[in-house]
């Protein structure tokens, strides 16, 4: 039987499928359930300094090929987060997503949350929160500074989550790598909007939002392919992964692990097991014994 196990930055994952940040991952019970349902690891909702309520509804638009969302980074703040996880233990890797407005804020959060996080994912890419995410992460110098500050503040592995809303994502990846990031993850959502033709206005209360789901897959796959060709550190693939074939494409493009988000809304919890089983059948059918053997095979051609 082909092995689905992967190891990244010294952490073992039962399989390469990780619950993406911001999807059904508000509380510990949901993280535990994700693992029960077949996820190899979990990224939490992004945690900031202060509690945030998030935007008013509508916060999501359903499209034929995905979703546009502008949640507004709702989160309990780091204190609330620590209270929330108090007393829980997790038998799977828990990656804590953090966001801040400055390198210092990121570093502060990493320090405060190092006890509970197996690794950190830095949200340098949320496209719809003023002063956070993409607004910081579109500049290579900021990516560098934030990663560096966090690396100085924690011994835990650090993943820089990058934005595709840029001319060349590899520049952002190189900045993260140079600053000591242990991995990059890509992509966060694409800048988008939806307008209702009868209301004649943007649907989201925030007007604009981030696009995810099957429709962004070709863009995400390209980002992963470009990053994997350029960087030495591992790339975690995110963006529209909905079927096991999608997952295999990302692995072949150089992703060492994958995050699943929107597919969970489209297809339910079963998506983790379906994708895992599909990858396993593929590996066996094509004569591979481990998922790690196929990572990046399409880069050589």
């Amino acid at each position: 039987m082909a092995s689905l196990e992967v190891e990244l930055f010294g952490i073992r994952f039962e399989n390469p499928l990780i619950l993406a940040s911001g999807i059904n991952d508000k509380v510990p019970e949901q993280w535990i359930r994700a693992h029960e349902e077949g996820a190899g690891g979990v990224v939490t909702k992004s945690i900031g300094i202060e509690p945030r309520k998030g935007y008013d509804n509508p916060t999501i638009v359903e499209l034929p090929y995905g979703l546009i969302n502008a949640m507004g980074l709702p989160n309990p703040g780091w204190r609330g987060f620590l209270e929330m996880v108090d007393g829980y233990t997790f038998d799977f890797p828990l990656i804590v997503s953090i966001f801040g407005g400055t390198p210092e804020e990121f570093a502060f959060l990493a320090e405060k949350l190092s006890e509970v996080a197996d690794a950190f994912e830095l949200n340098l890419s949320c496209p719809h929160a003023k002063g956070y995410g993409m607004e910081i992460g579109q500049k290579t110098e900021n990516v560098y500074e934030v990663v560096k500050a966090v690396k100085d503040a924690t011994d835990k592995p650090v993943i820089a989550k990058l934005t595709p809303n840029t001319d060349d994502i590899t520049k952002l990846g190189l900045a993260a790598e140079k600053a000591g990031a242990d991995a990059v993850s890509a992509i966060n959502t694409l800048k988008a909007i939806a307008i209702d033709i009868y209301a004649r206005r943007p649907i989201l209360s925030n007007r604009v939002g981030g696009y995810s789901g099957p429709g962004v897959k070709p863009v995400a796959l390209r980002a992963v392919y470009d990053l994997a060709r350029t960087l030495d550190i591992p790339v975690i693939g995110i963006g529209g992964i909905t079927t096991w074939q999608d997952a295999v494409e990302f692995l072949l493009a150089g992703a060492s692990a994958l995050q699943i988000g929107t597919a969970l809304s489209l297809r339910g919890w079963k998506v983790f097991r379906e994708i895992s089983e599909g990858i396993e059948r593929y590996l066996e059918g094509e004569g591979f014994s481990s998922v790690e053997e196929i990572v990046g095979l399409a880069l050589e051609k």
């Binding site: 509380v27 019970e29 949901q30 998030g54 509804n57 638009v61 359903e62 969302n69 809304s265």
Partner: protein
């Protein structure tokens, strides 16, 4: 996908409670809900009382805005979402509290054929808050309770349920959380389906706002089997 629908009829069914009928007949299961968008005012979830009806209590700015709308006005909907009740049992009780009536009204109307005998136990704070509509036509027995005794029996619907629970194969409940907890305790979490409520935003299992332990009310619910809720409600 969001869809604009036109209101074809609206009427008052109780104090601060109105019914809204739109020009689109939805395929739905009682217990399922819609997200309703009023451009500029927001978007909120409402349980379907029928294939083309929601019943709404005025509680804040969004519902106040909705109450200003009448025939010919538009609302935008997406859904139905969630799982809905599973019609099961022959002699059943529907236990409704306050504005928890719409999904049970829908169940009485739509699920009626599957049941042999339906008892609706419906409680409200006072007489003028009872949103009965024509539910009497769809149940075999109607028991009213009010907190103040202004209609029916003074007390809670769960008082009635506690006395008569032995009669029912299945109990269906929707209402304020203290009532739901009481129903679960009375039934010892067995033979009961509960339509639960949590603060819902996206409605489609993304934002995670409506979690109830490991469940999401929008996706795993809003209807839960009693045993699922042990330790949670």
């Amino acid at each position: 996908m969001l869809k604009r629908v036109e209101l074809v009829e609206t009427w008052e069914v109780a104090k601060d409670v109105r019914a809204f009928r739109f020009d689109e007949r939805l395929k739905f299961r009682p217990g399922q809900f819609l997200m309703v968008w009023l451009p500029g005012a927001g978007e909120k979830p409402f349980s379907l009382a029928g294939e083309d009806i929601i019943v709404v209590k005025r509680v804040g700015p969004f519902t106040s805005r909705l109450f200003e709308l009448g025939e010919g006005d538009y609302v935008w909907i997406r859904g139905p979402y969630g799982n809905g009740f599973e019609a099961r049992g022959k002699r059943v009780a529907l236990v409704a509290g306050g504005i928890g009536i719409p999904p049970l009204y829908a169940l009485a109307r739509k699920g009626g054929g599957a049941f042999e005998h339906v008892t609706l136990i419906y409680g409200a704070r006072s007489k003028d808050e009872l949103a009965l509509m024509d539910v009497e036509d769809y149940v075999d027995e109607l028991i009213i309770t009010t907190d103040d005794g202004s209609a029916g029996r003074k007390g809670f619907p769960t008082d009635v349920l506690a006395e008569r629970k032995g009669e029912f194969d299945q109990v269906y409940a929707c209402g304020p959380e203290p009532m739901l907890r009481a129903v679960l305790r009375v039934m010892d979490y067995e033979k009961v389906q509960i339509s639960a409520e949590r603060y819902m935003k996206c409605g489609i299992g993304v934002c995670g706002s409506c979690n109830l332990g490991k469940y999401l009310v929008c996706r795993d619910g809003p209807v839960f089997e009693g045993p699922q809720l042990r330790g949670l409600l």
